[in-house]
């Protein structure tokens, strides 16, 4: 299933790349892409693990870029 998150306030392109990398490695994430310019993190995740994954992704994002707010759009 597809999940889209906005990382509002994301202002470091290198952090964006790092977050993308880490989120991709999360268990249950099939694919992920974080666009620095649109601040959107698009993830393809396993449906049965979705809550767990979103929590983990949020943690990852805050760890690398504490300034950006993690908003789940869809």
């Amino acid at each position: 299933m597809k999940k889209i998150v906005k990382l509002e306030g994301l202002c470091c392109a290198n952090c964006a790349a790092k977050i993308e990398e880490e989120v991709k490695k999360l268990n249950g994430v099939e694919n992920a892409s974080l666009s620095f310019m649109t601040q959107r993190l698009t993830m393809e995740v396993l449906e049965e693990k979705v809550d767990e994954i979103m929590e983990a992704a949020k943690k990852t994002a805050y760890k690398i870029e504490p300034e950006a707010e993690f908003k789940i759009l869809r």
Binding site: I4, C11, A17, S33, M37, T42, K63
Partner: protein
Amino acid sequence: MTKKQKIMGIRLMISAVFFALAMAAEGRVFWYWILFIISYLAAGYDIPLRAVRNIRNGQFFDENFLMSVATFGAIGIGALEEAVGVMLFYQIGELFNDYAVNRSRKSITDLMDINPEYANLLRDGAEEKVDPYEVAVDDIIVVKPGEKVPLDGVVVKGSSSLDTKALTGESMPVEIKENDPVISGSINLNGVLEVRVTRLFDDSTVAKILELVENASSRKARAENFITRFARIYTPVVVILAFLLAVIPPLFTGDWGTWIYRACSFLVVSCPCALVISVPLSFFGGLGAASGQGILLKGSNYLEAMANLDTVVFDKTGTLTTGKFCVTSVDPLEGTKEDLLELAAYGEFHSNHPIAHSVKEAYGKILDQSMVGAAEELAGFGVKTTVYTQNKERELYIGNARLMEKQGILVNAVDSSEGTTLYIADNNTYLGCVTISDTIREDVPKALKGLRAAGVKKIVMLTGDKPEVGKLVGEKLGLDEVHGGLLPGDKVGKVEELLAKKQKGAALAFVGDGINDAPVLARADVGIAMGQIGSDAAVEAADVVIMTDELTKLVDTILIARKTVGIVKQNIIFAISVKVLILILSAAGIATMWAAVFGDVGVSVIAILNAVRALRYQNGNEKTH
């Protein structure tokens, strides 16, 4: 500017003032260092704090850490001026980055400002402002002048002109009246319209386009992946080199100050952000410039492919030709073309055949029913109609060559590859013939010329039509290859053959109208759907959607793609080479820490200014006017 940016601006001004004061005070008063420290804290007190926080989170080597170590190192060896300068300029650079990125984000949001906030739902004769999501199919909505059309629908009352610029890049308003379809996202310019909704908001054009645009940059170009991978290696390597530089040479020379100073320069240059930021910024600008022209790309990777296009494959009907049948030639035996066309139009008066429609359309004048008498459909041959026109009663026979034969007329069968020929006779006197064929679209020659000029080597047409028809169109347009008589499945096969033949590293694009060619669109390197605003199939299957049906937009797409990719290359080469050069010069002791600041901040500012250029594109067609 955001609030955060304003605060930063004030901090930097204070910092700059104290920096100047400190420089002036240096050597005059012993406490000048206090001024430097104030300047340092004003500019970057939060940087070391963030570095500590991030290290706690397990994030080493981020720019906060690097800047903290570099400036502390410089302070440690007494290079106070440099330490403060580095921090001040680093923060100025960051502020500039932030500002440029926000500006660019905003200008693209403005460009795609098509999201309707509300719909005026007509319920029991009263209007009610509702969320477009709440409107159901077949509801009637009211769109007033100046408002955006919130959902796709059909006009049931009123007429107006619509501004579709945000959707199609086309600045000419579109005139609409009752029964015309309207597309969500366009702006109603003058009249009040009542619209019957035909699609839910989620399925409406505006929602599809927003979805496409917002997800566009999630498909990344090779250059984007390259630069992030590069940064991942670059920073640790430079940091390790800095460490070695600070420790090893002094073991032999004992000159710790000099080498720590050089190592600090290394750390300043090692910041990855400047390098990484300009690449997505350029691609984003390119995508924005394209959408300003009514060209939507599903990812930056397609900009890269379009910049390197080798082969373009066109579908014939609906793409190179209009798919509408038109009268292309009128050959009277005697008399004027106009007279023959008039007779043909009256003769076909009662017929509903598409060919009859094109004849009537070609005649163009209103037909007077009183001029038409008895009419009879001759299945498999044509029609027979009594017509009183041009002051004469005629028994018109209109149809194929066999009909003429039946009337005892021998005609030289006109070459059928052109299209369909209608022969016209008055009883058994031959009057002439009219040929109806699929017409080549007006802008095709210009578009093909543009493609060639842009370096496309091979232009191919695929069609399900008879091979002779295809060949004729191909010759007329000067195409390199034409393959006719293809079923949709065969088209995929042909595209695969062409993919195998194209130059290595170059891309192949397939251009179709998005109807029935989804498999081919998917198979090509770049699948381009034309003029299918509002068609779900096209938006889903294609990689590039051109909202208008102007083929010249293909050329615009290539030019935008080239410009963007060019900027990206310039930035990557410029940034990496300046950084490496400064690293070498600093190691050798030739470059100072000020040069290192340029290597970080200067490079990023220049790269960003260059990247912003990608957003600007002047339409080639408009320029020639």
